[in-house]
């Protein structure tokens, strides 16, 4: 005979299992597209990624072989410039908003950052074309870096602000109580406590702009040859992939797949390396 308690227990347990299963299914569904993309890229691209691909510049159509070495290096150069612009400005803005930002002015800054975040990447490219490329008179890695750097700022600023806000106020007070000036407290104590979160924000911004193609169309423009100086048209992986993918040539299609795989691999690799280094620097938290 079932007691009321027994039946209630049965239903509760069933509901519990049902929702656990639903949550697990949801997380699988989220991961599925990622694995699907990865898997498909590996399938289509792995065969074409070889030493030649990684070290040679493109060959004229008709010849087989050649690679995207210049695009890989070019992307690296453009991203380095973008990071040099986006990271300091983004973190600086985030620090201002969190530690000093109760004023009306701070509200304006926040709003501006959110609007900037929503600017379509093609519009950013055209804007930087008008602001940098035209006055300079030529396409360049620098202008590409400027476009991508500006796109990094809102993400980094907002994440930095939120991570700093999560640092308990008692920590700031402890530092101030020791006679440490406000600016030093912010940099060496508050920011340092939020480091892990700030790095996440930076990596998110980096991963996003690393694959952006539209802003580079009219700024970096692309280049079939080695371009190591920041003041000339520069090849970039996303650009090269685009050009090759819409071309009518099978050989270039093959290389586009390889390029896509290499791009994903570089982004995942960069993010992982930073994570590992950040983890190593953490002082042991376990007892």
């Amino acid at each position: 005979m079932f007691s009321a308690k027994g039946v209630l227990g049965l239903r509760r347990r069933f509901t519990n299992h049902l929702f656990t299963a639903a949550a697990a299914l949801a997380s699988l569904l989220v991961l599925a597209p990622l694995f699907a993309i990865f898997g498909y890229l590996l399938y289509r691209g792995l065969g074409s990624v070889n030493w030649a691909f990684l070290t040679h510049t493109p060959k004229p159509i008709g010849e087989t072989g050649g690679g995207m070495a210049n695009a890989i290096v070019g992307s690296g150069l453009i991203l380095a410039i973008a990071s040099a612009i986006g990271i300091p400005l983004g973190i600086g803005a985030g620090i201002y908003l969190s530690e000093y930002g109760k004023s009306r002015y701070a509200q304006v800054v926040r709003f501006t950052a959110d609007v900037l975040n929503g600017v379509p990447s093609i519009v950013m490219g055209i804007a930087v074309y008008g602001l940098v490329v035209l006055p300079q008179g030529h396409f360049s890695a620098f202008s590409g870096g400027v476009a991508l750097g500006i796109m990094m700022i809102p993400t980094i600023a907002r994440t930095t602000e939120e991570m700093l806000a999560m640092v308990p106020n008692v920590i700031r007070e402890a530092a101030l109580g020791l006679g440490i000036p406000q600016w030093r407290t912010t940099l060496s104590i508050t920011l340092r406590t939020a480091t892990s979160g700030v790095i996440t924000g930076v990596m998110l911004a980096f991963a996003r702009v690393a694959g952006e193609t539209a802003p580079l169309l009219f700024t970096a423009f692309g280049n079939q040859y080695w371009s190591l100086k920041p003041n000339q048209p520069t090849a970039a992986l996303p650009l090269q992939i685009y050009v090759y993918a819409i071309s009518p040539f099978d050989e270039w299609h093959r290389q586009a797949w390889a390029g896509a795989l290499v791009l994903i691999a570089i982004i995942v690799g960069a993010v992982s390396i930073v994570r590992v280094i950040a983890a190593r620097h953490q002082v042991s938290h376990s007892a």
């Binding site: 920590i171 402890a174 101030l176 006679g179 002082v283 938290h285």
Partner: protein, 253 residues
């Protein structure tokens, strides 16, 4: 060596609300002075006015004179940073810097103010941890363990060591043991007893037994006013003011 504190006509506000009214007090050097009173009476605010921490809160305001030794705390030429270097503070909730090792925590006040000498820092850290009665427990792991990975009582002693490392003249303690268990509390109280040889200690406590155990002088606050200030012995046996008597006999608060 500790110095005396003189408080004259101290008033404090949080925006429009006045939380301290015309406080007058003389704190004896090298003695322990307790500040007691019911919740919200202004005792924490009072202590935070001594080292200019009250003004770090948006909208907070202070008027009056505080003289700590030879420093005019609210004088026009005095920088808050200098005041806070000469007056140490230990907070209610232990707050070691979570990303730093025990060593870096204790040395933080020195390192972040420009002091770099490696050997001297080693000596100072050891001395401070010894004074906080923590050295023997952590001497093997000072550089390896993070400040936040210790027990509550140990964390609080790290905070005390950190405050002592900069060699202040006065040590302010805002309910330092209220988040701790009785054994840790006992250790902290023993510590305070030893510290008064070298420092002037002002301790906020809501635990009257603690005040009776540890303090030489006691001040009773009520609704922002200092009702009575005298030797602890007198406050707890023959208080002059009826409100004091009501509080210590537990009739309210």
């Amino acid at each position: 060596m500790g110095v005396g504190i003189e408080v004259r006509d101290l008033n404090a506000w949080f925006s429009k609300a006045q939380v301290l009214q015309d406080i007058q007090m003389n704190v004896e050097p090298n003695h322990v002075t307790a500040v007691i009173g019911p919740s919200g009476c202004g005792k924490s605010t009072f202590v935070r006015c001594l080292n200019r921490m009250h003004e770090t809160i948006a909208g907070a305001r202070v008027e009056g004179k505080v003289q700590v030794g030879d420093i005019d705390v609210y004088g026009s030429g005095t920088a808050a940073v200098d005041v806070r270097r000469r007056i140490g503070m230990v907070f209610q909730k232990p707050n070691p810097f979570p990303t730093m090792s025990i060593y870096d925590n204790v040395a933080a006040g020195l390192k972040l103010n420009g002091y770099r000498n490696r050997k001297d820092l080693d000596a100072i850290v050891e001395r401070s941890l010894r004074m906080a009665a923590l050295w023997d427990e952590v001497k093997d792991v000072v550089r390896k363990k993070s400040g936040a990975s210790l027990s509550g009582g140990q964390q609080q002693r790290v905070c005390i060591a950190r405050a002592l490392a900069v060699e202040p003249e006065v040590l302010l303690m805002d309910e330092p043991a209220s988040a701790l268990d009785p054994i840790s509390t006992g250790k902290i109280e023993e510590l305070i007893f030893q510290l008064k040889e070298q420092y002037t200690v002002v301790i906020v406590t809501h635990n009257m037994q603690q005040a009776a155990r540890v303090a030489d002088y006691t001040g009773f606050f009520l609704m922002g006013k200092l009702i009575e200030f005298d030797k602890t012995q007198k406050i707890f046996t023959t208080p002059s003011d009826k409100r004091t008597e009501d509080y210590i006999t537990g009739r309210f608060g």
